[in-house]
Amino acid sequence: MATESKEVLYGLYDDEEILMDAVRKAKADHLEIMDVFTPFPVHGLDPILGLQESRLHIAGFVYGMIGTLTAFLFMTWVFTRDWPIIFGGKPYWSVPSFIPITFELTVLFSAIGMVVSFYTVCGLGPGVTNEVLDDRITDDKFCIAFQTNGSSSEDINGLRSFFSATGASEVNTKVIS
């Protein structure tokens, strides 16, 4: 992860409806939003922000297929080449009995794979500390953040007046790594 520090100007809102209106206005004014933080998923926010649909599920499908093949081919190899045993008079290559395990490994691979991918992409995981702009955005505040590295004071004043015009209850700055 890049360690370049970011200067952030952020405003806190009390309600998601006010936040949504503010995001709409920011988009209309062509302000470049760094990120929006909410304590819970806000329906309809993604399209307003213009976020692309996550590609995580495509990764999940690929992991799932890897799981399917791993389980199926491994069992095929074990029961036909490595250690063939007859169970209950069934043929060595007994596909129906492979299916439950194949299914389980498909689910396991896709679940673990997606968790690892998600954590990696978001820079999360054990031992990682992420600076939080404000503790209350995990509780009851809705936040719009702008990055202000190299912005002129004119720009910053413009952002501050944007916040006051859209009803932010608080405006702060913070430098995060």
Binding site: G44, H57, G88, G89, P96, S97, I99
Partner: protein
């Protein structure tokens, strides 16, 4: 538009479909009289069971959602109320089958042959059927059908009348809704047990010696998926006619998810049933799949292809559940697929052209005698004569079967649309209506 008009054009279309179905049914009756008109009677049973089940699962899922405080479906709940009203037609049809059991109009059910139950005649005595005869008998069949489908219909009308009364004289207060929920909650356990008991009688007992504890779940899942397909198609059609403007892609997306999920649920049950029987390999259980895999491979593998592989691959992506084109394609295919599934449950057991590997429907051909050695010898000779026992309408659905399906579908939709026209399309006084309008996935 909240008031639905059942237009003359639609009436004509559905009546035309019914006419096609009726012509096909009559043609089937006269074209083939093998096994007491087995083809005609099994087609009648097949479609009656299928559409009665669609009506039943519509009511069931309506009750399940209402009991679970679900709000999203409220805008379209009239469609399920209307579907459930088909139960009275289904009851009449199933009672005709039951009357046929009494009066020997058909020999779809091997257990209906009472001469097999007489222990004083060891040549014919069938110990397995004698053991089951307290449940598999003509009285239980008739009374069970009347009692169970009758109960379903009582719940369907009661629930609908409360819901319509809410429209006329209610408010969005919970007074009507709490009454509705009590009826719905009461229906769930009744529906759970009674649907299992009746499907054993209607379908599973065709293969009289065979049984499966997964069977009731498996068929109910099949019904439910069919009901979802029909719901999606009806809603998209009504939207195209300018109704249901409040019904958005979000609602269809959720129905698509249900279709996807329950196709997989159906496959899970199908496989659970198959694998347990394959593993244990008890002769009396295995014969069911042995027959289907060897004599009816198109039915057997086609079933999995249409009902699992197709919806699984097509509906997996987010976007395909929100596009009308893919939804319509999958719904049509899977609706046909589950009709095919019921065909595959019923037909091998009643096929009068079946060879040694066939089930017991063939006995009707050889008179009531149950001379097993004779049967086998006859069948083996039969088998040697023609290597394949292909019989249209049994091995795979023929044109007459498809026509019959269209006829029943026309009748079902006629009943449903006539019911839809009787009330507002959207239940505006339902306390969950507003929530439904703001549904977002």
């Amino acid at each position: 538009m909240t008031d639905f008009t059942f237009e003359g054009k639609q009436r004509t279309l559905f009546l035309g479909m019914m006419a096609v179905g009726l012509v096909c049914l009559v043609a089937t009756f006269f074209a083939e009289d093998a096994g007491h008109h087995a083809r005609f009677w099994s087609n009648f049973l097949h479609n009656s069971v299928f559409f009665t089940g669609v009506a039943f699962t519509s009511l069931f899922v309506y009750c399940a959602f209402t009991t679970a405080y679900a709000g999203w479906y409220t805008v379209m709940k009239r469609v399920w109320e209307a579907y459930a009203q088909f139960l009275i037609v289904g009851l009449v049809f199933m009672l005709i089958i039951a009357a046929g059991v009494f009066l020997h109009w058909h020999h779809l059910y091997h257990w209906a042959d009472e001469s097999l139950l007489d222990p004083s005649n060891p040549d014919k005595y069938d110990a397995v059927l004698a053991g089951k005869s307290s449940f598999l008998n003509k009285y239980w069949y008739g009374i069970g059908t009347l009692l169970i489908v009758g109960t379903w219909y009582v719940f369907a009308t009661r629930i609908r009348s409360i819901s319509l009364d809410e429209d006329r004289s209610g408010t969005t207060e919970y007074t009507h809704h709490s009454r509705l929920r009590r009826w719905c909650a009461a229906f769930l356990p009744i529906a759970g047990f009674s649907s299992a008991a009746i499907i054993w009688q209607w379908v599973m007992s065709i293969d009289s010696h065979w049984y499966s504890t997964m069977f009731a779940w498996y068929t109910t899942a099949s019904w439910f998926v069919s009901a979802l397909c029909l719901t999606i198609l009806t809603l998209i059609y009504l939207k195209s006619k300018g109704y249901y403007n409040n019904l958005t892609d979000e609602h269809l997306h959720d129905l698509g998810k249900y279709l996807f999920a329950f196709s997989i649920f159906w496959t899970y049950l199908w496989f659970s049933q198959y694998m347990l029987i394959w593993y244990a390999n008890n002769g009396e259980e295995t014969i069911y799949f042995h027959t289907r895999i060897n004599e009816y491979p198109v039915l057997f593998y086609g079933n999995l292809l249409i009902n699992f592989v197709l919806p699984f691959l097509v509906l997996m992506r987010n976007s395909t559940k929100r596009k009308y084109g893919t939804l319509i394609f999958v719904s049509v295919m899977v609706l046909f697929g589950h009709w095919w599934d019921f065909f595959q449950m019923i037909k091998p057991g009643v096929n009068p052209h079946a060879g040694a590997h066939g089930d017991h429907g063939g006995h009707a051909d050889h008179g009531h005698g149950h001379d097993h050695a004779h049967d086998v010898a006859h069948a083996v000779a039969d088998h040697a004569e023609h290597a394949s026992n292909f019989a249209s309408g049994f091995t795979i659905p023929g044109l007459l079967e498809v026509g019959t399906f269209i006829g029943f579908l026309g009748l079902f939709l006629y009943v449903a649309f006539a019911q839809l026209a009787k009330a507002k399309l959207e239940p505006e006084n339902d306390p969950y209506y507003a929530e439904s309008l703001h549904h977002h996935v």
